[in-house]
Each structure stands twice: as C-alpha cells, then as structure tokens.
C-alpha cells in the first residue's frame, strides 16, 4: 500500500527540519568522521541530500514541462568528494535545502491529477510518472536520516 500524494508531499515539506534535528548538536568530529567503514560522513550525507534534491527538483520540472525528458545520470560518490560536499559547515546546505523544498512543495501542490501522470525517463530506459518520482525522493531523504543514525550509532565509545 503506497502513501498518498498528500502524505508524500508532507514528508518532503517537513524533511529539512527533520534532518536538521538529527544533526543540529553534533560536534565537528561527529560530522566529519566516517564511523562506518567505507561509508560517507554525516556531513557528506547532508550535503549529498542537498545536491540530490536540487537535481531532483530540476528533473521534476523537466519531467513536468518537457515531453520524453531523460534524466542525466551523475556519479554521486565523486560528487560527495568536493570541498563544498565535505565541509563541516552545514549552514549553507540547510538554507539551500529549505529553499528548494519550499519551492518544490509549492509546485507540487499546484499540480492537477493529470499532471501527476506526466512521465520522464532514465538513460537505462526506465520511465516513471511524477507520482513515482515523488515516492523515490520522499524515501531517499528518509533513507539518509537512517544512514546518519547508523553512522552515529557506529561511533566508538569514548
């Protein structure tokens, strides 16, 4: 049983605040130490979500406004290694994420039932509707909160 569009929009709307609550009081060391071997730091997870949801908002507009739009893939592991994606300073990323989610929600709330059935594709050939796209990113955000919590749980006892 999948969530309704309204429920998924609500997850997107509340997401920046929920993410911020998880990382707000962390030390710089907790933000920048990969406590899980081979996985990202907490900071990388947060910056990645902003990169990814910026991209998602743009793809969403392309899927809505173009016929047969195809999303361009990118290597998220490489993207997470640049200076802006490693910084312990979360403030710019949260300002950005808040702004993106607010505009994205305003756009989604304006769509008709028919517009939600608009589709876009991936280079793999997979085609999805905007409803399915919303499901992907509502889950994507929450998955990264889980991953951050697992990362912090792996911190060695002081």
């Amino acid at each position: 049983m999948s969530n309704s569009i309204e429920e998924q929009i609500e997850r997107i709307r509340t997401y920046p605040a929920r993410l911020e609550a998880v990382v707000r009081d962390l030390s710089e060391q907790d933000l920048t130490t990969p406590y899980l071997d081979g996985e990202w730091t907490v900071a990388q997870n947060v910056h990645h979500v902003a990169d990814s949801h910026l991209n998602a908002y743009m793809r969403f507009k392309l899927f809505l406004l173009e016929e047969n739009s195809v999303a361009k893939p990118y290597d998220q592991d490489v993207w997470a290694t640049t200076a802006d994606s490693m910084s312990p300073d979360m403030s710019a990323t949260f300002i950005l994420l808040n702004g993106i989610h607010a505009r994205w929600v305003a756009l989604m709330e304006s769509l008709s039932d028919e517009e939600w059935t608009h589709t876009g594709g991936y280079t793999s050939g997979r085609v999805i509707t905007l409803v399915q796209f919303l499901d992907v990113y509502a889950k994507h955000g929450d998955d990264h909160i889980d991953q951050i919590q697992r990362t912090l749980a792996a911190k060695p006892d002081a």
């Binding site: 910026l54 802006d84 990323t93 808040n98 305003a106």
Partner: protein
C-alpha cells in the same frame, strides 16, 4: 584565460549576488513584487525565481563538468520554467534562501579548484564547448544582468507611483 585576479573578482561577484538581490527588494511589498511594471517583461519576483532556477542549473552543470569527462550539458526552456506556480509566487524569500545557500557552496567549491580545473570542458547542445571559466563568466554576467533588470523594473514602479499620485 582570465588572470587569477580577474577570476577572483568574478568569484566575489558571485559571493555577493544573493545579498545584492535581497537588498534591492527589501521593503518592497509583495503585491508589488508580482506586478509587471515593464510591459512584456517579468515581474521582480519572476526575475528572482528565475535567477534561482538558472543558477541551480548552472551549479549542477559546473559540478558535472568538473567531475565527469566532457559531459553533455543542455539548455532548459526558461520561458516555460518561469510560468510554473512556484516561479511566479509573489513571495521571494525561498528563492533568496536558495541563492544564499547555493552561492555559498558554489564559492566554496570554486575557491578549492586548482588552476588546471578551470579549463575543464563540457559540451553544450547550443553553445558548443564550455569551460568552467566560461561558466563563471556567464553566470557572473547573468547575475549582473538581472540586478540591472530589477533596478529598471523598480524605476518603472516609481514612475508608475508618481503618475498615480
């Protein structure tokens, strides 16, 4: 190629753009932000939403070109993008937030680049070969153009008020 000083001056332009935009529209009532004072042109709000959309796209392209080998990059239909609901809302706070956060991260990224990185190139579907330096020049200019456009719109708003009184 730009000199290091010329390039740094453009990065400073990028760093200050969000604040300049915010200062231009501070105190302007929201119902005036969505007014079309120049016939056939965008409202002030549409200008700001458009800069946010365009610079999100540009940051994304910038990372693509930096991190992938000569990626293809595409233009987007900015007229269409400026017609959706969230791109016409009178409230510009969220777009100003996007620009503040985005330009801060973009400048952090640009400050970290090595000299050779600026020559990295992508292939644009209309403009052809585009280097990171080209992108920096284009978007510093793009920001300036929209500051100008908003100033012109604010001037037209003044004239509109005077002719009303």
């Amino acid at each position: 190629m730009l000199t290091v000083d010329e390039r740094n001056a453009l990065i400073i332009k990028m760093r200050t753009l969000p604040r300049q935009l915010a200062e231009l529209v501070r105190g302007v009532p929201t119902d005036e932000l969505e007014m079309v004072y120049l016939p056939g042109e965008w409202s002030i709000a549409q200008n700001i939403h458009h800069v946010a959309d365009a610079h999100m796209n540009a940051f994304h392209r910038f990372k693509h070109i930096l991190l992938h080998e000569q990626p293809e990059i595409r233009s987007f239909d900015q007229k269409n993008w400026s017609r959706t609901v969230e791109a016409t809302l009178p409230n510009v706070e969220d777009s100003l937030f996007i620009l503040r956060g985005l330009h801060n991260r973009w400048c952090t990224l640009m400050d970290s680049l090595g000299e050779g990185d600026w020559e990295r190139r992508g292939l644009h579907n209309q403009a052809g070969v585009v280097t990171l330096e080209d992108l920096l020049m284009s978007y510093a200019r793009h920001g300036d153009n929209h500051l100008e456009q908003i100033k012109k719109t604010l001037d037209a708003r003044e004239q509109h008020k005077q002719s009303d009184s």
